[in-house]
């Protein structure tokens, strides 16, 4: 069931061939490694197709140009970043490598750091973002930051306040902002409570306690919104206003996506979720 189809195999080989024209050495300073990326893509694509059953809705809106891609963050572990990157490679007509900006903590993790970088992940640092946008590459930013990914079950799909850094970067480089929403990633770990105090004591950004260790096969839908290009005469007020509009657009896409979400063990997940939400609200009115 989890086997790489011939079509996907050929597609991955074509993608790597195309990327080799841009990166003749097969690598870049941020750790992109086309040889390792090809192997990793071939390993992950069956999971992408058959386990998470990812659908990219609105792919026709993506043009062959540089973007600052903005998404809600969900799923406890940054699988959403990997799935978005894969969707842009596998399900978009033009070969579109987007570079997810990852947390500093991720860069310290053995193996994860190596494979994430090989697939294009970059440390979430402003200087890195500026270099990439200067080189006309696309970056993927989660403006909610760690707060977005470290939510307890009752707070699933509650979008946290956006930071404005992504907008300022897009304005500086006159790059279009492409908002998107990911639906389904929260259900990979449906029952989660964060032991924040213990996590801090251990020097971790968060410590999710979940009933399941491996992500469940929750179907993922990625909704592409309408792109927005900042003007070159932005001020504090306009930045604040436009970031708010982008945040609202993502919230709307999440509501739409939740209404159309594919069922996933709803008969058991929903009653338990409702119970957790009820209990949680009793404690935190």
């Amino acid at each position: 069931m989890l086997a790489l189809s011939n079509t996907d195999k050929k597609k991955i080989e074509r993608i790597i061939r195309t990327m080799k024209k841009e990166y003749p050495e097969g690598t870049d300073p941020w750790g992109l490694n086309l040889e390792l990326a090809e192997k990793t893509l071939k390993f992950l694509t069956p999971l992408y197709r058959s386990y998470f059953k990812v659908r990219l809705i609105g792919a026709e809106k993506i043009q062959n140009k540089s973007y600052v891609v903005i998404s809600n963050h969900s799923g406890q572990i940054p699988i959403d970043a990997i799935l978005i990157s894969m969707a842009f490679l596998l399900d978009v007509e033009s070969t579109h490598l987007i570079r997810p900006m990852v947390e500093k903590f991720m860069a310290t993790l053995p193996f994860i750091n190596k494979y994430a970088s090989a697939l294009g992940a970059v440390l979430g640092d402003r200087q890195n973002a500026h270099y990439l946008l200067e080189r006309k590459q696309s970056i993927l930013v989660f403006p909610e930051g760690v707060k977005g990914i470290t939510k307890n079950s009752p707070d699933f799909y509650k979008v946290q306040d956006f930071t404005q850094g992504f907008y300022r970067m897009a304005a500086t480089h006159q790059t279009a902002i492409l908002p998107l929403a990911v639906i389904g990633a929260e259900e990979m770990y449906p029952f989660v409570i964060h032991a924040s105090g213990l996590g801090k004591w251990m020097g971790l950004p968060s410590l999710p306690l979940s009933l399941n260790l491996l992500p469940l096969p929750s179907p993922i839908d990625i909704y592409i919104g309408d792109e927005f290009t900042p003007s070159d005469k932005e001020n504090e007020k306009s930045i604040q206003h436009n970031v708010f509009l982008i945040e609202q657009q993502i919230k709307k896409m999440i509501l739409l996506g939740l209404a159309k979400r594919r069922p996933f063990f709803d008969f058991i997940r929903k009653p338990i979720s409702h119970f957790i939400i009820k209990e949680f609200r009793k404690k935190k009115p």
């Binding site: 053995p110 750091n113 200087q127």
Partner: protein
């Protein structure tokens, strides 16, 4: 014109002296070192003194000679960890450098070229790619034993701005210098038949050929205005690729094991400096924009790959 080279026995200083002599036949060079000065490049106008780096010796030197240019290329190795050596190293780095700079100012030299290192930036997980000269020097945050190189760099930088109008000072922060004449940890690491390689990380490196570095040192005196300059080629390689070029067999181990292994080697005094192990985890790539603005795009003869290829020519 008389030139003082501190640390003249080193491989890099020796190449520099040859370049100086071939380009300026009338030049007078005085090379000093606390190591042996036998079997070094000799020619008319070139003199060596083996001496301890003490205040008295330096004062004598500046009293009896009138230098136009001073090259500060001396640095003590980080491979020994005994307390006395650490104290000696700190003393040389912080007090010794301060004394040399003070004497340079008093004697009225015209140029000072100070060789620092890119190690001052540190190999940290949150390093941006292409660190510029303005970046904070964070090496000693993680590795206190690197305090000497950071202190030396900062002392020189403060001195440079203080004497901005009077003395032309060039502070160079090169990436890994490798070659057949320099005898540093990175050259030894890459030229062995088998070397430890990280299984769980994939850091990138920039390498600089010793000839290029010596040439930049020479051109620093002539062409570079006062300032701080990172020195690196445009290209970079992953460690795996570097091993392929140098034909070194990688011994792949997880980096957590490398720390334990190094601890074991420490007991028999065969260890690598801990800070170098951090370079096997995280990249520390530096930008070369500042030097390119002055010397042009083709300021180096060898790329990173060429420098690696040349390491086997020994």
């Amino acid at each position: 014109m008389k030139i003082l080279i501190i640390g003249a026995s080193g491989g890099l200083a020796q190449i520099l002296i040859q370049i100086l002599k071939s380009n300026e036949p009338d030049i007078q060079v005085l090379g000093i070192d606390n190591r042996s000065c036998e079997n070094l490049f000799r020619a008319p106008g070139i003199e060596y003194i083996q001496m301890k780096y003490t205040r008295g010796n330096f004062e004598n030197l500046f009293r009896h000679h009138e230098f136009n240019t001073v090259y500060h290329l001396a640095r003590q190795t980080h491979t020994s960890h005994t307390n006395s050596i650490i104290t000696q190293r700190m003393d040389f780095a912080m007090l010794g450098t301060a004394r040399i700079l003070e004497l340079c100012e008093l004697s009225g030299i015209q140029n000072l070229v100070f060789l620092s290192t890119f190690h001052v930036y540190g190999a940290l997980s949150d390093n941006p790619v292409f660190i510029s000269e303005n970046a904070p020097l964070r090496a000693s945050l993680q590795f206190p034993e690197l305090r000497d190189v950071v202190e030396m760099d900062q002392l020189c930088e403060a001195w440079m701005w203080k004497n901005q109008g009077k003395i032309k000072t060039v502070l160079l922060r090169p990436c890994n210098i490798i070659g057949t004449q320099v005898n540093n940890t990175m050259t030894r690491y890459l030229s062995g038949p088998i070397s430890v390689s990280p299984m769980d990380y994939s850091p990138h490196f920039q390498f600089l050929h010793e000839f290029d570095m010596a040439n930049i040192l020479y051109r620093s005196m002539k062409e570079l205005p006062t300032g701080i300059y990172n020195i690196a080629a445009d290209d970079f390689v992953s460690l795996e690729e570097a091993f392929k070029i140098t034909k070194t067999r990688p011994l792949r181990i997880p980096m957590s094991m490398a720390a334990i292994l190094n601890y074991g080697l420490k007991q028999v005094k065969l260890d690598l400096p801990d800070y170098l192990i951090s370079y096997l985890r995280y990249s520390c790539l530096i930008s070369n924009g500042a030097i390119k603005k002055v010397l042009g795009d083709n300021f180096l003869r060898f790329s990173t790959r060429d420098a690696l290829g040349a390491i086997r020519l020994k």
